[in-house]
């Protein structure tokens, strides 16, 4: 009996570590970062999960590029030695405790103090059920971020991405996965022998649209990753169907459909099943993305012979060219404030992530990479996640728009690509 108990414990630990499939590396800069200390959390009670909350919060804050969060051995016993932290040039100190209240209810307490004024900036008690320790750590990270920066954090959110692994015989397996915003808790929601691409979260976070080749042609599918209900079936179109992008209302998707070989952007309403044409041009129109207010779409088109980005105002039906620098600009995505577009810009032979100010047309190239792809903003607009290559291997990269700090998410075996960042948890 005792033996089997040990075995169970061992396998729990094992599966937990096997869960952390995405490895996280911060590879640049602590420039202009807010120095703070987050002390280890006091844990009162028995917790099955082996989770270091303070570390998760530190890692979260550091990944954002805004913070230089450190730990300390100095535990808080009733009073805080503010002088000590002032000497060490820390601007804020965070500490907290987790207390088991009943079998399934726990309380998290969090305190944020300003070292200079020695005043509490924030304190909060949050109740949560078992199994939510990591989620609590992300929720607390969001609050600290807001208290210290006055902006929303984007930690209690999810990523989706596609992994590709190859067997010894050379056959590929594609997986559509979702994970927490820090790459933990990866779960496979679709597994296929056929390519999967372009996953996209609905704004309410409950649905994922993606492209699958399981029927030997590119088709758009919509699934509910959190519910065991049937995927939504879109009507069958003649040519390719691809590049799904959710309207903020969550009821319709813009997608590229090839009718009689002509690739244009259409709007498909999942409720009324109506299909409405949004662009009409004999050239390629694809990679549509809705502005946050749903009033316009940005898209890629080669209508002038070059691959460039255009914005269509859906209220006036007017189409304006958005990119003027370079001969290849593609895959636009709106920033959450609607003022900028992240896109892929060709420089010489390289394809790099760039940021376009829509009003001023200023284009800023953000990386020195060779083949960036698939940009996606964090829901607070502070970071962009994108796919790129490192040592001939597909990885995900997150860039902080605060100080260009780069965080890499890699997978030991196989490649990872096509990231998408969910909206805030409800």
């Amino acid at each position: 009996m005792k033996f089997s108990k040990t075995l169970i414990l061992f396998s729990i630990l094992l599966s937990f570590s096997a869960n952390a499939l995405l490895e996280v590396n911060i590879i640049k800069s602590k420039e202009d970062a807010f120095p703070l200390v987050i002390t280890p959390f006091e844990m009162i009670g028995n917790f099955e999960e082996d989770v270091d909350l303070a570390k998760i919060i530190r890692d979260n804050l550091n990944r954002s590029g805004h913070f230089d969060a450190n730990s300390t051995d100095k535990l808080i016993n009733g009073a805080i030695d503010f002088d000590f932290y002032q000497q060490h040039k820390k601007d804020a100190i965070v500490f907290g405790k987790i207390r088991q209240v009943t079998n399934n209810v726990n309380h998290a307490e969090i305190y944020v103090y300003d070292v200079l004024t020695q005043k509490a900036l924030y304190q909060k008690k949050i109740a949560f059920t078992n199994g939510a320790l990591r989620k609590i750590a992300h929720a607390l990270s969001d609050r600290i971020y807001f208290v210290l920066l006055g902006q929303k954090g984007a930690f209690n959110t999810r990523l989706s991405y596609v992994t590709v692994s190859e067997s010894k015989k050379g056959s590929r397996t594609y997986r559509l996965q979702i994970s927490d915003s820090d790459g933990y808790n990866p779960k496979t929601v679709v597994k296929s022998a056929y390519p999967i691409l372009s996953p996209s979260w609905s704004f309410d976070q409950n649905k994922l649209a993606y492209v699958s080749f399981k029927n030997n042609r590119s088709e758009v599918f919509v699934i509910h990753p959190f519910l065991k209900i049937k995927p939504i079936k879109l009507p069958k179109f003649d040519g390719i169907a691809s590049s799904p992008s959710w309207h903020p209302d969550g009821e319709s998707i813009a997608l590229t459909i090839s009718k009689k070989g002509n690739k244009d952007i259409y709007l498909y309403n999942l409720k009324t099943k109506e299909l409405k044409r949004l662009t009409k041009n004999i050239s390629i129109d694809t990679e549509a993305n809705f502005s946050p207010d749903g009033k316009s779409i940005a898209f890629t088109s080669n209508r002038t012979g070059q691959v460039q980005i255009y914005i269509k105002n859906l209220e006036t039906d007017k189409i304006k060219r958005a990119t003027f620098k370079g001969t290849y600009n593609a895959k636009p995505v709106f920033s959450p404030d609607g003022k900028e577009l992240a896109l892929i810009h060709r420089v010489g032979k390289d394809y790099r992530l760039a940021l376009l100010n829509i009003a001023t047309r200023d284009l800023t190239i953000l990386t020195q990479n060779k083949s960036d792809e698939s940009p996606y903003f964090s829901p607070n607009g502070g970071m962009i996640i994108f796919a790129t290559n490192r040592d001939n291997k597909g990885i995900l990269s997150i860039i902080s728009l605060h100080n260009n700090q780069i965080v890499e998410l890699t997978q030991k075996d196989g490649v990872v690509r096509e990231p998408s960042w969910s909206n805030y948890s409800n």
Binding site: G78, A79, A92, E109, Y111, D114, L116, K119, A120, L121, Y122, K124, K125, I126, A127, F128, T129, N130, G131, A132, V147, L148, G150, T173, K187, T188, K191, A193, P195, S198, V211, K214, N215, N216, S218, I223, P225, L227, P231, G239, I240, S243, S258, G261, I284, T286, E287, N302, V307, Y328, A330, K331, I344, R346, Y351, S371, S374, N389, N392, E418
Partner: protein, 330 residues
Amino acid sequence: MSKKILLITSVIFLSSCATTNIQELGDKFLDLINPSDAPAEVADLSEQVLVLDGESGGFTEEELEILSNDELIELAKEKGLEDILIVDADGNLQNRDEVIKALAESEALKESATQQLETLSDDALVEIAEAKGIDSITISEELENLSNDELIQIAKEKGMEDILDLDADGNLLNRDAVIKALTDSLIILDEDGNLQNRDELVEALVEGAAETKSAVAELEKVGGSFVLYFAYDDTEIDEAATRVIIEHANFMQNNPSVRLRLEGHADERGTREYNLALGENRALSVKEVLGLYNLEDRVVVVSYGEERPVAIEHNEEAWEKNRRVEFVYY
């Protein structure tokens, strides 16, 4: 932006809770968080990794060797290989070895055609069956649960009256045979569009698929090319490519039952979705030339964009190999 200013505004904003001594927090700070939106394990999407079964269901050469000449003649006739039989005046088989080889080859061809069809999803299988002119019916219940009159009606609608054995009063005498005949020769879908008779459909398509394979093998033997290459971000068909397409047009005219799938591909440079569109345009420009021979109805176009490279390196040489259109017959 100065973090000091931010700090101070935060201090003002949150001054109501300011204190330097740590004390237990009351319930006025209480929020509730549940882990209830944890993802379902794996959504069942009827999409899975398919593993091919290497075992052959047909005759191998060894198995054919132990058959008598008469049995071989019988088998060859059954498999539609009557033409290759050489028999003397007394009906004795003269070319036993040749017949065994031909039978084994035909079995191998069918086996590989079956395997290929088995890897297809239901939707892809239905698409091929429809292209091959197989009729489909949508029924709310299984055929077994339909009344005789309903079965008679379906058979008549689908032009299959001759399978019906009716008595003088019009009653169906061969219900089981009719159900089998309908299952073997139609695409049967339920009201959600799900395929009901996958195994029978594969069976119905195997022969045609094997014939296509053998015709394609002939074209391969005479050095036919099945891939065309393109320049960067380009869909143009040059003279050499036109000659290849004309060869295929001739092939299709000589083999009226074959159908062509043009698979367009792009290299890895640029964005995936744009490349998907580009791949389709490449395949479409090949189809356009075939259209000059009035073959467009037998051609479908698909694009894999940059998802199916033949060369996985990241250099000009690999990119050249990946910017292509492949001719796939079925």
